[in-house]
Amino acid sequence: MSKRKPDEQKGLSRRSFLKTTGAAVSAGVVGGAAAEMLSAQAPPKKIVGPGEVAITLRINGTSRNLSVEPRVTLLDALRDRLDLTGAKKVCDRSTCGACTVLVDGKAVYACSILAIEAQGREILTIEGIAREGELHPISAAFVEHDAQQCGFCTPGFVMACKAFLDKTPNPTEAQAQKALGGNLCRCGTYIGVRAAVLDAAARMKGGR
């Protein structure tokens, strides 16, 4: 006979520990040589919660007020509270990159930063990169090179690609592969993605 206690069901992981304390320390940053860990720079913050707290997030240039428990990830805040569903929830453990958004210009796994610690930062999601009625040149390059099949990883790739090209406007293929190494696809679209990144770099020379 074994009696299952709540903690045995999943164990107390580092992540759930962080989430239950409400301390703003965890951050996932998309890989690549130039990536820096946000957590290394973040000073310790005051303890809040466990109930909902009112926060303001700067998303795509607009201030959005919402109320979340401190443990709510930026990804869940975007998707469940603000209906910004472009960032996808796939691994929920900063492995696959499907939830990639830009925070202060850096590619970040939105599943591994808490909504409360994203306050005061400029958050850019895929919904915010295109001009009204137009495709962003990176998205357009992904379409042209068929760099997507089911498409569930695609918004994350597009955002990782944006963070990379913003910093590296003249990339080599080797640099591009390294920069996008933190994004996983199951359908197998990498051949199209390689072509799309280089083409997107060329398209973005137009000044966007």
Partner: protein, 720 residues
Amino acid sequence: MASEKWPEAGKRSLIGKRVTRLDGAVKASGRAKYTYDVNLKGMLHGKMVFSPHAHAKVVSIDTSAAEKMPGVRAVHIMTGLGKEVKCQGHEILAIAAETEEQARDAARAVQIQFEKLAHFVDDAPPEKAAGYATPLAEQTTGNPDGGFKEAEVISEGIYGAPVITHCCLESHGQVAEWEGDNLRVWASTQNVSGISGEISDGLKAGGVTVPASNVQILTPVMGGGFGSKFNADTWGVACAQLAKKAGRPVKMMLERDQEIMAAGARPSIYAKVRVGAKKDGTLTAWSSESWGTGGYAAGGGNPILPYVFTRIPNRRSRHTRVVTNTGPARAWRAPNHPQMCVITMSALEDLAAQLQMDPLDFFLKNLPFVIAERAEAYRQELLKGAEMMEWKKKWHPRGDKTPGPIKRGLGLSIHTWGGGGHPSNCNCTIRPDGSVEVFLGSQDLGTGTRTVIAMVAGETLGLPVTGVKVNIGDSKYPPSGASGGSTTVGGVSASTRRATNNALNELLAKVAPSLGVEPDKLEAKGGTIRVIDDASKSLTWKQACAKLGATPITATGQRVPRGPDELISSGVGGIQMAEVSVDIETGIVKIEKMVAVQDCGLIINVKTAESQVNGALIMGVTYALFEEKVMDGASGQCLNPDMEFYKLAGIGDVGNFAVHFMTGTGYDERGVIGLGEPPVISPGAAISNAVANAIGVRVPTIPITPDKVLAALEMKGGAA
């Protein structure tokens, strides 16, 4: 009457061209709404509670604490007291709350007592799986003992592939919303037209009566299935139950660990193989003792060996099913074929190495032992692939003798698949203003189905792809089959061709008088209806449709189940070659290049067809090098139910690809044949053979991980 036959080469406006997928922009801009993205007013979040034990009996379930927790709105018990659970990930109950966090808290607060029972999770050879192993009947053809006597060289080995999972990026799940007696379900499914009945039946068993016709399934886009999403599944029914109990819509998507544990497994298959040949390489005999597990339900995984070379004259094979307390098997892209392929092609390549023959020559020599009508295509494909790989220039006998730790090698493999077309119905409506719509209860898994339908409709009506609105992903549309087994393109292209052609013939009959000819003298071409061979007598599409007056045309077309169909066929072949480099100090295998040569009849969209092959090669590299669902014998639990330790290849892992399609005379006239499965079959075998060629010794099973490479090298003294 316009003929429904596919137009000949040279008369095709869209078919065989490179057309950009129509839903590309909506996906690449993040605007596509997958099931996981559906947010409805008042929607609750559901969570499943699964068994943590591999084998146990449910003794008690106490949900009282959970039900009192903040935000909890409904609980639905699925496996009641006294019931047996047979794997980690067996469903127990489902719970719904206002937020996802609250639902997760409540799921953790449920108190369940289990009586643990003995479990077995090892896909061990039958002699080590006593009590769990069921041998199936031996299959014998010819005289195997005589064949081995006749053989001058005999190779023996053990080969195989472990259980892997589907790991669809959009996990399994549904959003259920009741409106009176009607149920609307957004489902991440490969089977839009097929799962209403399953949900209706499942609800009935739980005391809720709703006819299947009141259950609408919606799947405008979906995030990957690969064979794991044919059913609504127990959690789909539970989602609808929770929504009924709470009187609110419920979204319930599996969490990643649940997805890996419960929602998909490719059966393992291993085999002890003996294969014999004469000194000139002619095969004389095959024998195999195979085993594997399809989980507790013992589904799937019964191989037919040898693969492709099914006509080796003397052969014996026997398979043993090992029942384990693991998640049930689901169809995994090309069910059984990758495993049968890696077993057969590895054994044959080992034999060729023993004969000191180039496997290319060895495979060519033994083509008389493949299905007769495919032999010539394989010969052409092998020669084409050899040219693309520069095989004769690069190939060396087993074991790269060049100095240094990096060893290069080449391997090849050949495969086959059926295809055909599933049953499909299409409705085409042409309106007096010239707008056109087609409706099919089909789905686009990311393969490009939506685009192919638009191309077929556009081809038939003489319109661009943008001239036809394609409506799929709704069970209220005319039914189409599930997308599995590479049957979708055959099904939907045939039904769409017929529906649009039938509609066109009605239109031609209406406009013929105004052009002063009989309808059979008219054709739809370049956005006009015109007299055949006299383009001066024509009407624009809009002018022609205006002749309809107030009444639209609506016509249907079908791909009837089974039976011959002049638009489609089945049975394809392909060959693949891999070039790898292996670091014999670290055991790391790197893919340098993959070559794929494939036939699949008449290709509708070359662009998305290439993506299918590239994607299959990547999926193949992934299962060849990385994937394994690792089970712990002592606890019965999965040790890698996450995407960090259940590894998928990244963009830097896959090497460079060259893809060639066999098209034109001899291929196009076969009609449309599906492409989803075939190119995913050979990569494991081609890569395994390339590694053996590089390092001079076989790594017996995939995935070919560094530890296995080093172990294999150690067995033969450490050098390539």
